[in-house]
């Protein structure tokens, strides 16, 4: 059974962190990082051609993690694969005991590094969740019966709380939950009050929510994200803190840790998902600073 599911179902504050496969086939660093995270988080997310940029595939690294005794969350976007390829990958994942699947729409090919690649989007995130559910019921996307046992997954999806109009995100979130998403990871969050307002809506949906945490490394990074990453809103007060700090990376770790301990203490949501984007070594430091 999925450890992540166990944690979330039992009311434990769940922790996940994210790593990306390499642009190449040397997975040494990924395994090193995963081992570093192993006892600190319930599961390690593996991104699927994140930012629409070519890397080794998510499934490959998930299998490697699984074999190293680390529980992966297999991210699947709809950008690059048809429903057949998606279900095929899900079955392969099941064969290796991979349970957690995170369904994502995916960034468009034109924002990535292989811009001429065909944007597939055969399934949207709702469709990916349904495709997993279909396999669980013993059927493929053509309605044909699977041979042998049906796989069992623990399904998740994403949501962007800092979205205008937020009702529209909530409607989509509801649909994802209806389609099978038991847990949600949010886009990176920095404003507790605003997140609380979002959770007022989201808590009516039957699901678990992991708050997205992207540790800031500098005021410049915060400003850049405000400018160019959809759904990110770093408040000016935090940008000031980073600017005034002589060790902005440490300050960023502290900011992330404070956010995590607050949501945990106040019981705002069910866990946290840390996206360290290249600075995964800092994840244990964040958790330590958060007293976890």
């Amino acid at each position: 059974m999925s450890k992540l599911k166990q944690a979330l179902d039992s009311g434990t504050f769940a922790l996940t962190a994210e790593i990306a496969p390499p642009k190449g086939f040397d997975f040494t660093r990924q395994l090193y990082l995963a081992n570093l995270l192993k006892d600190k988080v319930h599961a390690v997310n593996v991104t699927d051609f994140q930012s629409a940029s070519l890397k080794a595939s998510s499934l490959g690294l998930c299998i490697m993690l699984k074999q190293a005794g680390i529980e992966p969350v297999f991210q699947i976007t709809g950008r690059d694969r048809s429903r057949m390829a998606i279900q095929g990958d899900m079955l392969s994942a099941a064969a290796f005991g991979i349970k957690n699947i995170l369904a994502l729409t995916g960034d468009h090919t034109t924002v990535g590094d292989c811009k001429d690649s065909k944007p597939v989007f055969d399934l949207d995130s709702v469709g990916i969740l349904k495709a997993a559910r279909m396999l669980e019921s013993g059927q493929d996307c053509g309605g044909n019966a699977l041979n042998g046992e049906s796989p069992e997954f623990y399904l998740g999806a994403c949501v962007t709380p800092e979205y205008d109009p937020v009702e529209l995100q909530i409607i989509k979130m509801k649909k994802k939950a209806m389609a099978g998403a038991a847990f949600f990871q949010t886009q990176g969050l920095y404003d507790i009050e605003s997140f609380k307002r979002f959770m007022d809506y989201a808590s009516k949906i039957e699901c678990k929510v992991l708050a997205g945490i992207i540790p800031l490394k500098s005021a410049g990074m915060a400003k850049f994200m405000n400018r160019s990453v959809p759904g990110i809103r770093v408040p000016d007060s935090l940008i000031e803190r980073l600017k005034n700090s002589s060790e902005p990376v440490k300050e960023g770790i502290l900011i992330a840790a404070e956010f995590i301990s607050k949501i945990k203490e106040q019981g705002i949501c069910d866990g946290a998902h840390i996206m360290a984007i290249g600075a995964e070594e800092n994840v244990p430091l964040i958790l330590e600073a958060a007293g976890l």
């Binding site: 709809g78 950008r79 429903r83 729409t105 995916g106 960034d107 468009h108 034109t110 924002v111 944007p119 989007f121 055969d122 399934l123 949207d124 995130s125 709702v126 469709g127 349904k130 994403c158 949501v159 962007t160 979205y163 205008d164 109009p165 009702e167 529209l168 995100q169 409607i171 989509k172 509801k174 649909k175 209806m178 389609a179 886009q187 959809p230 759904g231």
Partner: protein, 220 residues
């Protein structure tokens, strides 16, 4: 309307390497509106080719180049010049060019790129409107096409990427799903957004397709 755009001059010239005499075919429908195959463009093409030593020995301007029966008739006007020409340049869309090519035993070259099915916003401004997905969903989306206007053709609502109502893929475009939301809100039909839509099916879109009204059976 089929929106077309003129190919670069060098590309057109490269097709015509070695050709001395050519025939031009325009189109009185979409390509005229797009300013790629009207009478003016035929004149311009004639002058352009002449400046490169290529003589236009004949040209026609059919009402629509994609109507085979019509084209057959129109081509008769070229019966004296076609045998002596080295090539035909079509100033219509890809469909019209194929229609002409299917009717004559000459090299037919496209002068245009065929871009999309769209609407004329204003003179000279065209926007893509329909990707011909076969199973129209406009009834559920306030008349705004999510297959075309959403860069990811999402059918169950938006991705998380819109900023200030703009699409994350091209900031010049509005996010289709926010527009759909606003429209359905105005129409009092937000419940349509809550409905779960199945992934679009593709089994009926294996191309090339034929529709034959003559064989279609009608229940009376």
């Amino acid at each position: 309307m089929i929106i077309s755009q003129k190919k670069p001059d060098e590309e057109i010239l490269s097709y015509l390497e070695g050709a001395k005499k050519v025939v031009l075919v325009g189109c009185g429908e979409c390509a005229t509106v797009c300013k790629t195959g009207g009478e003016e463009e035929l004149e311009n093409m004639k002058a352009f080719l002449a400046s490169h030593g290529i003589e236009v020995v004949g040209s026609i301007y059919p009402q629509s180049a994609c109507n085979k029966l019509l084209m057959k008739k129109e081509l008769k006007a070229l019966k004296d010049v076609l045998p002596e020409c080295d090539a035909v340049v079509s100033l219509s869309c890809g469909d019209g060019t194929q229609t002409i090519a299917s009717l004559i035993d000459k090299c037919v070259y496209p002068a245009n790129n065929t871009m999309f099915l769209g609407e004329v916003e204003r003179q000279g401004i065209f926007t893509e409107a329909c990707r011909l997905c076969s199973d129209c969903v406009l009834a559920y989306t306030g008349g705004i096409c999510p297959i075309t206007k959403c860069a990811k053709s999402l059918i169950n609502g938006p991705c998380g990427g819109s900023v200030d109502g703009k699409c994350e893929v091209n900031h010049d475009n509005p996010c289709a799903w926010i527009e759909i939301y606003n429209k359905l809100n105005k129409l009092g039909q937000l419940d349509k957004l809550e409905k779960m839509y199945e992934p679009k099916g593709y089994k009926d879109t294996a191309y090339p397709r034929v529709i034959n009204l003559r064989e279609e059976k009608h229940d009376e």
